[in-house]
């Protein structure tokens, strides 16, 4: 049984560019949450998707957007990248109705 998978593993972009990160949830899970983890910090909640809709959003600007597909996989898009967007982006999946979240390995984004 595959756990949560994320792609790519690492990514380097320059300021002003746009990036798309991908996540496939654990089998049987229908809810995907995205987190940003800056160096030396705990993960910060970006948003959560269920039934292809954003359910709740953390304190992140509109440059951060997402999507969930009918197969429950999800994308995180970040537009107009800033140096401060450099971080590890984590995807976590769970079953509908809050329960234990399973985390993926993350995508390390570096913005130059």
């Amino acid at each position: 049984d595959a756990g949560v998978t994320q792609s790519p593993t690492h990514l380097i972009k320059t300021r002003g560019q746009q990036v798309t990160l991908r996540c496939s949830p654990k089998s049987g899970h229908d809810t995907v949450s995205w987190y940003q983890q800056a160096l030396g910090q705990g993960p910060q909640f970006i948003f959560q998707y269920y039934e292809e809709e954003e359910r709740q959003r953390g304190n992140f600007p509109d440059r951060f957007s997402g999507h969930q597909f009918p197969n429950y996989s999800s994308e995180l898009n970040v537009n107009a990248l800033l140096l401060g967007d450099s971080a590890l982006y984590l995807c976590a999946s769970s079953q509908q109705g809050f329960s234990e979240q399973f985390f993926g390995p993350g995508t390390r984004l570096t913005v130059l």
Partner: protein, 113 residues
């Protein structure tokens, strides 16, 4: 908005020492509480969780945590640590009925053989 404080950023212990990592949260309503662990080179994984019921919860690998509502605390404990417990530990809180999970800044535990 809820917040989570982890008081110790870096803890160094010898094997067989006892461990207690502090965690306090700020929210007056009903919460779900979690401890996650990240071993070197691995994903974040759940150590234990508290949703309701017995405030003393037991997790994997001999860890336990006690929820003290009056103190807004959820401290993690282990009677005797092993070198393999070297990892970063994160406390997290979720307000019941909402999706957002708020994490603390983490505590790096180093166990010396």
């Amino acid at each position: 908005a809820q917040s989570v404080s982890q008081h110790n950023h870096h803890v160094i212990l010898s094997e067989a020492a006892s461990l207690e990592l502090g965690c306090n949260y700020s929210y007056g309503g009903t919460v779900n509480l979690f401890w996650y662990v990240q071993y070197p080179g691995q994903h974040l994984q759940l150590l234990l969780k508290y949703f309701s019921g017995d405030p003393l919860v037991k997790g994997i690998k001999g860890f336990e945590a006690e929820f003290i509502k009056s103190k807004f605390s959820f401290n993690l404990r282990k009677p005797s640590v092993q070198w393999s417990d070297t990892a970063e530990y994160f406390c997290a809180v979720n307000v019941w009925g909402y999706q957002k999970v708020t994490f603390g800044t983490g505590t790096k535990l180093q166990v010396i053989p």
